[in-house]
């Protein structure tokens, strides 16, 4: 087991190297002249040349790449052009809001999807099953901002139950935190729940066909026990995997939801970076999210191996 974990962790190193190289090449080769992009449309040739020298864009691309790797190894994601602050500091200031949103959304998603998926599998082919599947395919097809605006219209503007926009950190008390975060987390959670509900249904359905479920029924266990203790528990592994794989969807949802609800998180930082053409920020955030994604998938794989003794690598 330890050998597997070490091997799996070592495997992420080449992936992260490729990720860093891809991000670097996009940012350097995507624009014809990064210095001109940084300088803005009104810059003179002299200003562009000064920026080129200052950021080392005049060095050969391979030298720039090696330098960039060196900085990354020291945990340096560069300095924001707009605020002149290190990108890591900017991310640090905003990570609380993003993490709050992502965790709250995921909790809502699991709370909705696991019971719905299990019931749909138990009553496969019934009206309930069809209703759950219609919900799953619809919520998955709706853009996150449509769900967000619909929720704002009903719960914030019409009923006045929640504020339309904004964010209060957890340090200001759990009440205000929940008040501001519930609508964003719900809109993100609903889209995510759609993915999970489908997968939960498929996994539980697969388990319900197994011999041990028939044995459990034959022992006279109640349906609830058969479903939860036997079927759902064994279906947990594929469900956890899907949670890991669909984190990319959650991350893109975070960027959009933070924009709709004006939450000062990392997603909002990305969008501000695009508007101010602050490209070290965009580059830093993309890399940060990608590393988080790679690490979370590593964690999912390790958990996968830990919770299921049948898996041998």
């Amino acid at each position: 087991m330890a050998a597997f974990i070490v091997r799996r962790m070592l495997l992420t190193i080449p992936v992260m190297l490729v990720v860093a190289t891809v991000v670097f090449l996009i940012m350097r080769l995507g624009a014809s002249d990064p210095a001109a992009v940084l300088a803005g449309e009104l810059a003179t040739d002299a200003q562009i040349a000064a920026i080129r020298a200052r950021y080392g864009f005049d060095a050969p691309i391979l030298v720039q790449l090696v330098k960039w790797f060196g900085l990354l190894l020291q945990g340096d994601l560069g300095v924001s052009i707009y605020t002149q602050m290190p990108v890591t500091t900017l991310i640090g200031q905003r990570i609380g809001a993003t993490l709050s949103l992502a965790l709250y959304a995921m909790t809502i998603a699991v709370a909705i999807a696991v019971p719905l998926g299990t019931i749909a599998a138990w009553k496969a082919g019934s009206l309930i099953d069809r209703a759950v599947m219609v919900f799953a395919v619809s919520a998955y097809s709706f853009p996150v901002f449509l769900i967000s605006y619909a929720l704002i219209l009903v719960f914030a503007l019409d009923l006045g139950l929640f504020p339309v926009q904004g964010y209060k950190p957890l340090a200001r008390g759990i009440g205000p935190w929940l008040e501001y975060l519930t609508l964003p987390a719900l809109s993100l959670g609903l889209a995510y729940a759609a993915l999970l509900a489908r997968m939960t249904r498929a996994s539980v359905l697969e388990m319900l066909r197994q011999d041990f479920v028939r044995t459990a029924r034959a022992k006279g266990l109640r349906t609830f026990q058969v479903l939860v203790r036997h079927a759902l528990r064994n279906a947990a592994v594929p469900i956890v995997t899907v949670i890991g794989l669909s984190l990319a969807a959650l991350i893109s949802g975070v960027v959009i939801t933070e924009t709709v609800f004006a939450i000062p998180g990392i997603g909002r930082l990305t969008v501000d970076g695009i508007f101010t053409r602050d490209y070290p920020v965009v580059q830093g955030v993309v890399l940060f999210f990608s590393f988080v994604y790679v690490f979370l998938n590593l964690a999912v794989d390790v958990i996968y191996a830990l919770v299921d003794p049948r898996i041998r690598y």
């Binding site: 490729v18 097809s141 959009i256 695009i274 965009v282 990608s290």
Partner: protein, 291 residues
């Protein structure tokens, strides 16, 4: 003539196609999907034929839906009915272009990776790296340096989607090349190229078509997201995404200006997804039972 037609219709190949289409058509989600997709599509096509681009009129800014303006008007006094139908052309074109391009590029790269070991080793590491970057962020990074533009959006989303197709094609080729019919074709004296194009390629087309439908819908949504955050199509080229982006600050007073284009995206994407699901289930009944 009539006899020739009758022969053609009763040929085994034609029968298989008809059975295949029948199998797709009778899947539970296909017909609702077709209806959902056809409504915006018809609107877009009719709009392209009949409606002129929406003109600006300061006197009718942000008016609610009425008989004169079924979808209301936006902040510049443009008729949203004409504007949204026009925007649909761009959104749909991006979806289709990304689906076609990433499937074609992914197919070629996947076939190469499946057959040539050296290519496989290098290519798949690059694909793993690209796949490790969440698609929308990769597109954001590309758009932030390349600037707003239709072609840039298509290229950015395609780059993010290609690895998924490469993986699918490679996996299919790796399992198919071990099958006995490939050995038989080889023993019969066929060259690798012929085996790939005559025997392997046709077998990958079904799953690829399914994948293409999902890429199309995810591209429509990604374009909307990119435009929504200001990194998509330029404002002078209306797409559903940037119509929503332009109107979102007026949401409180004019919710229709955001919700209506949003519903067009939802109907189109849901329609295509339902048809894609039906296609997948028809191609592989085992999956249909499991999911």
């Amino acid at each position: 003539m009539a006899t020739a037609d009758a022969t053609a219709l009763s040929s085994p190949r034609h029968g298989a196609v008809r059975r295949g289409l029948g199998a797709i058509f009778t899947r539970p989600g296909f017909r609702p999907g077709l209806v959902l997709f056809s409504l915006p599509l018809l609107g877009i096509l009719l709009g392209a034929l009949v409606l002129a681009p929406a003109g600006m009129d300061g006197a009718i800014r942000l008016t609610a839906p009425s008989w004169a303006h079924p979808f209301g008007t936006d902040n510049l006094g443009r008729d949203l009915f004409a504007h949204v139908l026009r925007g649909g052309r761009v959104s749909l074109a991006i979806g289709i272009a990304v689906a076609v391009l990433s499937t074609a590029i992914g197919l070629v790269l996947g076939l190469l990776a499946g057959f040539i070991r050296v290519v496989d080793a290098v290519l798949m590491r690059i694909m793993d790296g690209i796949m490790a970057i969440p698609g929308i962020l990769l597109a954001i990074a590309l758009m932030s340096v390349a600037g707003a533009g239709l072609v840039n959006v298509i290229v950015a989303i395609t780059i993010a989607d290609v690895p998924r197709v490469v993986r699918l094609v490679r996996a299919m080729v790796l399992s198919l090349r071990e099958q006995t019919f490939v050995d038989a074709a080889r023993i019969a004296g066929n060259r690798t190229g012929r085996i790939v194009f005559r025997h392997l390629l046709p077998m990958t087309l079904g799953p690829l078509a399914v994948q293409a439908t999902f890429i199309c819908t995810s591209a429509i949504i990604t374009e909307a997201y990119l435009s929504f955050i200001g990194a998509g199509t330029p404002p002078d080229m209306p797409s559903w995404g940037n119509i929503i982006a332009e109107n979102r600050i007026y949401f409180r007073g004019a919710p229709w200006s955001v919700l209506i284009p949003g519903c067009f995206i939802a109907a189109t994407v849901l329609g295509i997804n339902l048809m894609g699901d039906a296609l997948r289930d028809a191609l592989d009944p085992r999956v249909a039972k499991a999911i």
